[in-house]
């Protein structure tokens, strides 16, 4: 019986990872659409949102089923607890991707100032955050905590970057009020990315709990 459970758990874990990669893919493509001012790519990211929610719901249901049928304990229980948190963090990350795609759709038709994206370092910030999320997912996959060992410092960098972007954005808006629409939207993007970094840390915390049993806080 326990062999059956462990097989099912491995399968479920694989699906959680796929969902995680779907979410991070949405974020990546949304940022790419933002850089390239590409409404088609943005529209395509929005369409993945339905699939993301469906997967999140099905996986949550699957975790409850495993609990109800097998009453897992110790490491098995911690793996399920971690997976449940990962599912909701991943869903949030994917939804931030969709939000960024919405920003692209709201701003692309006005061709002025589309170099503001890189001027504000949004792609750089996104690559830091996406790196953190990927490392958290990889730690979940192979239980290698060295992947998430520096998340605290990496998150500090991301937070600092958001403050820089905030100040830079205000400067641009003061210099030329015509940038206000884009800049306010981009400040929101910076906020979304910072939140995604927090979710990467949350996943790292729960993966640590899964592997060691210790509840830690990454701040």
């Amino acid at each position: 019986m326990s062999e059956k459970f462990h097989t099912e758990m491995e399968v479920a874990k694989g699906k959680v990872l796929l969902m995680g990669h779907l979410a991070v893919g949405m974020l990546e493509d949304a940022v790419l659409a933002l850089e390239e001012n590409d409404p088609h790519r943005a529209e395509e990211v929005r369409k993945r949102k339905r699939d993301l929610s469906d997967q999140a719901n099905a996986l949550e249901e699957e975790m409850y089923r495993l609990i109800a049928l097998y009453q897992p304990m110790a490491k098995d229980m911690r793996m399920i607890a971690c997976s449940l948190r990962l599912i909701s963090s991943a869903e949030r990350i994917g939804r931030y991707g969709k939000d960024i795609a919405n920003v692209v759709l709201a701003t692309y038709s006005d061709q002025r100032f589309d170099d503001l994206v890189s001027a504000l370092s949004l792609p750089h910030m996104a690559s830091l955050v996406i790196g953190m999320i990927n490392d958290s997912l990889e730690a979940y996959r192979n239980e290698d905590l060295t992947r998430v060992a520096h998340h605290s410092a990496r998150d500090d960098t991301v937070d600092a970057l958001r403050h820089t972007i905030f100040r830079d954005g205000i400067t641009y808006m003061m210099e030329d009020p015509r940038t206000i629409t884009r800049c306010t939207n981009y400040l929101m993007v910076a906020r979304y990315l910072e939140r995604c970094g927090d979710h990467a840390c949350k996943i790292a915390e729960k993966v640590t709990y899964m592997v060691t049993g210790d509840q830690i806080e990454i701040r």
Binding site: S2, F5, Q71, M73, A74, D76, M77, R78, G213
Partner: protein
Amino acid sequence: MVNLMSEQSIIRTSNLNLWYGEKTALKDISMEVPDRRVTALIGPSGCGKSTLIRCFNRMNDLVDICRITGRIDFHGNNIYAKESDPVEIRRKIGMVFQKPNPFPKSIYENVAYGPRIHGMNDKKRLDEIVEKSLRNAALWEEVKERLQDSAMGLSGGQQQRLCIARTLAVEPEVILMDEPCSALDPIATSKIETLINDLKKQYCVIIVTHNMQQAARVSDYTGFMYLGEMIECGTTTQIFEHPKEELTENYITGRFG
């Protein structure tokens, strides 16, 4: 030495070893059992948990080839000392077995039997003891109209609660339960588990169980045994959420055993 937090311990084993002939059944067990708590012993078949629980009231004395070293202190007195009286120990440390084993007598006589052999003959007092014991075993309401009926006519779950009442009648301090629910259906099991939870307000309960969910549900402390050794002992929450030993982890997650 496993020290169970700051609890008041009632039983303490020190370097307890037990052999059946040449075969070692218990290896160097040192543990404390806290009073008014439920302590569960878990482990795969043959790990020594039943042997250990039977040591607590000297049930192994009845096995000829059994040899014991080390000590078990009950309130600080070694129960294996020469001057210890096994009958008195078994009165204070009662036991409930895997299969309900009521005497082929009436319900009343089953409960009154113990106090009687300990010299109680006052009819009125016996009535009180029988009622109190049956109430504490959560059986009174079901049998109060038919105390003179044969105990053999009760259901398995009722018989097991009768055995618990029979144990309570001699006013023990510790109740040992060796797989008390393994012969019962889920409803009867649930009643016994609720009862165990009530019993710990007045008694120290030690339970051996194969059912890990049951250990998790009913106990405050859990000891995991393997090949005659106490591998890990701690609060039930810690053992089932976050065991320290890999062997414990592997056992409770069903990776062996």
